[in-house]
Amino acid sequence: MITKTVDVAIVGGGPAGLSAAISAKKNGAGNVLIIERGENLGGILNQCIHEGFGIETFGEALSGPEYMQRFIDQVEENKIPYLLNSMVLEITRERKLLVASREGLIEINAKAVVLCMGCRERTRGQICTPGTRPAGVYTAGAAQNFINLKGYRIGEKVVILGSGDIGLIMARRLTVEGAKVLAVVELMPYSSGLPRNMVQCLHDYDIPLYLSHTVTEIHGKKRVEAVTLAQVDERFKPIPGTEKKIDCDTLLLSVGLIPENELTRNAGIAVDEITGGAIIDERMQTSIPGIFACGNVLHVHDVVDYVSMEGDKAGKDAAEYSLGKAKMEGAIRVKPGPGVRYVLPQLLSGEEDVLLSMRVISPARNVKISLIDKGRAAKTIMKPRVNPAEMIQIKVKKGELAGCKEITVTLQNGK
């Protein structure tokens, strides 16, 4: 077995990993290594050929591959080594990584590790859609891969279940490629994608959206022949008598993303049941010292720019850890309160400026988001609208949480 020693090992070469690697290098880590399972760097951005990436970072709307290339260029300029076609099989508490590669098994001893494995799609099995098992049922991301990277026509008459951003982007993409998108079907009473994607992907092409609906049956033996839709009640149960059969040959699923945390769990790192990602402190450090996490493996993002920014932070923190710089002192717990689905990081020192990332449970207007400790609001911000599809960030200055022990982030009517 080949053995290597590195300062910072980056698990995954997508947007989070590239940013983390560049930042680790710039912050003094001498020996950084990116380990990527796929054939090239860049991860999912390879297939995200639509525009809208980089508005926060570069002030321009780039396509996924262009956005990604700017980071790959920096990896090359900084001479950061990477392994492709190489999969991390195990990470131990002592930060020893076991990697399967074309050269055989590699054991890597890392002073610090950054988890950047991203997420994967929820499938039909996980949402238990009844019916037959014909060809023509794809997750939206798989369809995106087939169309954008391989040039396949995946179907002519398409129904999309779920209004997540990838589903909306694929509704437009399929229409541009000459297919007919008959319906986008969403279980919730609101879209789970960004409002801008509702406008430019559905409204622009007159694609109908069925809110509070689901697919109750898939028909067809060899190939999808039709799906049955039904309206759902407030407990998401199909309402009898509302069924509607739509003839189609393809069903796309855009029903959520799951952070890919098998390595994390096997390492014994504490995972937050709501985000599906590691529990972290303000240095992006997990429950195992020296192991950090960022990007979609930590919590699913809606905008890649924020993934890159998180990677940048985690890379810096990992570099500092590898150099033996001061560790975090003090502990203020942060937890979600009424109206809030989750808040990150879960642990703060109160002695550094920090950026909280959070999501709300349902859409609302004119709200007040408060950081409450023992009944007292340590900080409050106002928002004209909030939406579960949009991650919210709150800047907290050092000192604002002075004397706090446990912060509950709550959503209240702001009027």
Partner: protein, 123 residues
């Protein structure tokens, strides 16, 4: 006089912008939080524009397709014609990010440019 609410598509903030207009003249605008939102709605009212992204086949490339986009936004009503025009194009490897595959497509002033590097296929 008529009212309309737009959702700005320029950035992820998705600002809701309310306008009052008569015919194609904007008389009142509110809700935009930056200059780009203001510009977007003014264009959207008179002559909406969109960028286009798709991909075209590459001969002899390491991958079968190269992703492309318009170098600037084009009139929204021309999108179907543009898609038809782009579908006629075949690129040949190597393709470099930024290469122009169609110059001034359909007289719009926009070029169709590659958004990915596609090197030659290794023999």
């Amino acid at each position: 006089m008529a009212n309309k609410r737009y959702v700005c598509i320029i950035c992820p903030n998705s600002c809701e912008i309310d306008v009052e207009y008569s015919g194609k003249t904007l008389t009142k605008i509110s809700g935009q939080t930056c200059k780009r939102g203001d510009e977007y709605v003014r264009k959207e009212l008179i002559a909406p524009e969109r960028g286009i992204t798709t991909s075209v086949p590459v001969r002899g490339g390491s991958i079968p397709l190269v992703s492309v986009r318009s170098s600037k936004t084009v009139p929204k009503e021309l999108l179907p014609n543009l898609i038809a025009e782009i579908s006629k194009v075949r690129a040949a490897a190597p393709v470099k990010m930024g290469d122009i595959l169609i110059k001034n497509v359909l007289g719009t002033g926009a070029d169709i440019i590659a958004t990915k590097n596609v090197p030659r296929k290794q023999a």
